[in-house]
């Protein structure tokens, strides 16, 4: 059975509040979508009451990767693109922790693209929030792996020519066991996605469209009703046997998720994939450790080493 990420009850009556979790004032530009992501994250943590010291926030490099400085929890700000393998090391060696990785589209799909594939296929128990703004913001407007064709940037003054990555297709095809898509302007939906991601046993990813108001203004207006767009939700199957349920999305069906991912911008928002029956790497590795420990019984480290060296005599 996969290990679950059900939060353990705090030992004391102290309630974890947004105030406890607030650290430095974010250095993001006024109006940045990432503020809403941070606020939603705080609210979900408040709701789930994960013990304060068990929360770990990890990020690579980018505007959104400044996240750990703005959360008062154990945190680590790593190098560009490698947040996931580092977070995997933390998660696999410390099953008692709740590991969160944050980052942007450059960190996740470009320099760190390989790690996303492998962390997904290994089903490492952690939650990854990608704040996708379809531009390199920290370095001031270069084309990113998700920038649309024709996007004018400092590296593509005449408009981007390379086809962008489709994050949802990538996540579905690399075997991630929880894949959701949300929009930073939809805080309630975002919170819902984060909560389900955190409670998912295994690798959970939330692709979050988060607007860069300075370098890619209006990029996600088409998914924002307040800006004249449409925020269309994925309707998940209720398994109620009704004829309308036939049309709804089965979150365990990769082909259906892939079809959802193929919709043109702004597409649909919600859970594309949710598979709870895939064993986590945490579980598989722990099983190996347990069986190995059982075999050696009460032997001390020195005794085990002695036994090993006896064969070399």
């Amino acid at each position: 059975m996969p290990t679950t990420k059900q939060p353990t009850t705090p030992e004391t009556d102290e309630k974890l509040t947004k105030k406890d979790l607030t650290a430095d004032h974010p250095t993001w530009c006024p109006g940045c979508g990432d503020f809403a992501v941070l606020a939603a994250f705080f609210k979900v943590l408040e709701k789930l009451q994960i013990p304060h010291e068990k929360i770990v926030t990890i990020a690579g490099i980018g505007c959104s990767s400044r996240f750990p400085y703005f959360v008062n929890s154990h945190g680590l700000h790593f190098i560009h693109g490698r947040a996931l393998p580092l977070a995997s090391g933390v998660s696999l060696s410390r099953p008692d922790l709740h590991v969160f990785a944050f980052g942007g589209d450059g960190d996740g799909f470009s320099i760190g693209g390989n790690h996303l594939d492998h962390t997904a296929r290994k089903n490492v128990n952690l939650t990854y929030v990608i704040m996708d703004n379809e531009v390199y913001g920290l370095t001031k407007k270069q084309t990113s792996p998700t920038s649309p064709i024709g996007f004018k940037s400092k590296t593509d003054p005449a408009g981007a020519v390379d086809r962008p990555i489709n994050p949802m297709k990538k996540l579905v095809s690399n075997g991630a066991t929880f894949v959701a898509r949300t929009h930073a302007a939809q805080v309630k939906h975002m919170m819902d996605m984060f909560e389900r991601a955190i409670l998912h046993p295994g690798f959970s990813v939330v692709e979050t469209l988060s607007e860069c108001v300075v370098f890619h203004k209006g990029a996600f207006d088409d998914g924002n009703p307040r800006k004249g767009g449409e925020f269309e939700l994925v309707e998940e199957k209720k398994w109620d046997g009704t004829p309308e349920d036939e049309e709804r999305h089965d979150v365990t069906n990769e082909e259906a998720a892939y079809a959802l991912a193929s919709l043109t911008h702004p597409g649909k928002f919600g859970v594309f994939i949710e598979k709870d029956d895939v064993p986590t790497k945490n579980h598989l590795e722990a099983q190996w450790i347990d069986s190995a420990r059982e075999k050696v019984g009460e032997a001390t480290t020195a005794e085990l080493l002695k036994k090993r060296f006896a064969i070399m005599k």
Partner: protein, 608 residues
């Protein structure tokens, strides 16, 4: 057909040639070179002989070449057995066993004048009329096939040869049989039976009669039973475990892979795990994640992989995370010579990352030292919260030596997860004082939680580009490594405290340098040697040692570079501004031969 039981075939002592009537020649040392193809299993029998030597209180050192192809190709295994100190695999062989014509052609020159060449007369035609060495023709292939029986083809030739050698040197057959049984008994009874049939056929072969003499390889004086025989990679791996490493991550590359394979298999028994990463970048990142999580973690690779890890290593210095990093050096640059030895990653280890990245570099001198260096690295990494790089190399990784079994009870360090609550005055990066991280899971009584970071930071780990803060933090990271440097014992001089030439070495060249020094001193020349295990920081006290010698010659396996000095020589010249420091280098993918060192230092000696 009824087959003899496995047990009896091991225990039965077959008739061996009657040595009594043959001239017995006592040997203190023997260098035996087996030359064949990599699939002939000559590494296996070399390993058996080395293990037997270790169990018979003999000294042993091995040397092998393996083609870097997947299968096939010429391969040699050389075993140097001795009753005294064995410091090198031997410049020249006393005995050559040639399996094929190409083996004979390529290696006959490595046989000493008057040496013995045993060749497979089914495959080899030696040069007619060569009286430089003694030739013994043995139909190795056909006798092996005959002994095992029809279908076996020529597999088992290695065991036949092992039998030949056992009889020739009057080695302890019972001990050897036990070692073979342990190795092959795991596979199946058939494998063990065939191995023993071939071995016994070789043992009974009247080689002594053909050769007209037999040899008695003396056992060592010590009767100590606590000796183990293994290779450097294995010694290093168990040193890590003894030092408290339970977690790690890596990516396969020759010759580092055996370390990660063993860690992956072994660590679960000790409650940890070694993770195979998708690439070198992920490998060091995962290991840093484990380190951040509060464990003593290891990663490693060989040259190309270390290049890829350099950015994250710079992070480890900045973030002050403890990490043990292994570099099993091989021939470079680029993919280079994956199965050859070189010491050309020293500068990379010290300076390979961007920015000022003071870190600790250690280099083991022999197989035994691989074990102890690993433990030392674990201590330093933890005590100073710093990355520690161990520079070993392909030669150390694969060669087999015998040494005293370590005293595990006194050496073992049990890892602890230090998540006890921290007081309100805790800061992760105090300006004065050691960084000692509070791993996640630690309750912070003051309510403020630390950030570990690669940006320049204040004492709390928050980003700071303040000029004064940056200067103070650079000082802090440098000074802690300097403080560690002051704890390194001054190196010992081998030979005399003063004289004409001081040889300086590091890493796996320890043996040949020591043997060269002994030969020089026996010849009455004032040559001494000092061997550096600590390369960054360097130990104190070197100028005091250097001033007593007329010349200081740094012997190392890397290129002399654009300015005529090898990598350590360059560092020592820069550090001490001492013009008498000279450099002796080579990069042919092989370890130093004694005579190469002797002729290399000749120009430095009086009368040259």
């Amino acid at each position: 057909m009824s087959t003899p039981s496995t047990a009896s075939s091991v225990e039965e002592e077959p008739a061996s040639p009657d040595d009594a009537q043959l001239a017995q020649e006592d040997l203190r040392n023997a260098v035996i070179r087996f030359a064949g193809n990599s699939q002939d299993g000559i590494q296996t029998i070399g390993g058996f002989l080395a293990r037997l030597a270790g169990r018979s209180a003999r000294e042993v050192m091995t040397y092998m070449t393996i083609p870097s192809t997947i299968s096939g190709g010429p391969s040699i295994f050389q075993v140097h057995l001795g009753s005294g100190e064995v410091l090198s695999a031997g410049d020249e062989a006393d005995f050559l066993v040639a399996f094929y014509q190409h083996s004979y052609d390529d290696h006959i020159a490595s046989l000493k004048d008057g040496g013995v060449c045993i060749y497979d007369s089914d495959h080899v035609e030696p040069v007619e009329g060569d009286e430089r060495v003694h030739y013994v023709a043995v139909p190795i292939t056909s006798t092996t096939i005959e002994s095992i029986g029809g279908t076996a083809k020529d597999r088992g030739k290695n065991m036949f040869v092992l039998g030949l050698v056992t009889a020739l040197f009057d080695l302890d057959r019972a001990k050897l049989a036990a070692i073979i049984e342990r190795q092959f008994g795991k596979k199946s009874e058939d494998v063990l039976r065939n191995a023993m049939l071939a071995f016994d056929a070789g043992y009974s072969y009247p080689l002594g009669d053909v050769l007209g003499r037999a040899f008695n390889l003396k056992s060592g004086e010590s009767t100590d039973e606590h000796r183990v025989t293994t290779d450097g990679n294995t010694a290093l791996t168990y040193g890590l475990i003894a030092g408290g490493v339970r977690w790690g991550s890596g990516y396969p590359i020759t010759p580092w892979s055996p370390i990660m394979e063993t860690l992956r298999t072994e660590l679960p028994k000790y409650g940890g795990m070694f993770l195979q990463a998708e690439d070198e970048l992920a490998a060091i990142s995962m290991a840093l994640g484990e380190a951040y999580a509060g464990h003593l973690a290891v990663t490693g690779s060989s040259g190309p992989g270390l290049s890829l890890k350099m950015e994250a290593l710079s992070y480890a210095v900045m973030a002050e995370l403890p990490l043990v990093v292994i570099n099993v050096q091989r021939g470079g640059p680029s993919t280079g010579l994956p199965t050859s030895v070189e010491q050309s990653d020293l500068m990379q280890a010290i300076y390979g990352s961007h920015g000022d990245t003071p870190r600790v570099i250690l280099a083991p001198k022999n197989v035994e030292d691989c074990f102890y260096t690993a433990i030392e690295a674990c201590h330093i990494a933890k005590a100073y919260s710093t990355p520690v790089i161990i520079l070993t190399d392909q030669a150390l990784a694969t060669r087999i030596e015998a040494f005293e079994e370590p005293d595990f009870e006194s050496l073992v360090v049990e890892p602890t997860l230090e998540t006890q609550p921290r007081d309100a005055d805790f800061v992760p990066y105090p300006f004065d004082g050691h960084t000692k991280h509070a791993p996640p899971g630690t309750k912070m009584k003051g309510g403020q939680y630390p950030v570990v970071t690669g940006l320049e930071h204040d004492e709390w780990g928050h980003p700071s580009a303040n000029p004064e803060t940056h200067q103070k933090m650079v000082n802090k990271r440098r000074d802690k490594i300097k403080r560690y440097g002051d704890t390194i014992p001054e190196p010992e001089v081998f030979g005399g405290d003063s004289g004409e030439v001081l040889l300086v070495g590091w890493g796996s060249t320890w043996g040949p340098i020591r043997e060269a020094t002994m030969r020089e001193r026996e010849a009455g020349r004032a040559v001494s040697a000092v061997h550096l295990r600590h390369l960054n920081p360097l130990p104190n006290g070197l100028p005091k040692i250097f001033e007593k010698f007329e010349r200081v010659c740094v012997v190392e396996l890397n290129d002399q570079g654009l300015y005529g000095n090898g990598q350590l020589a360059t560092l020592l010249r820069a550090r001490y501004c001492d013009e008498k420091i000279t450099s002796l280098t080579k990069t042919d993918g092989l370890n130093f031969r004694i005579r190469e060192i002797l002729s290399g230092i000749q120009p430095l000696q009086a009368g040259a």
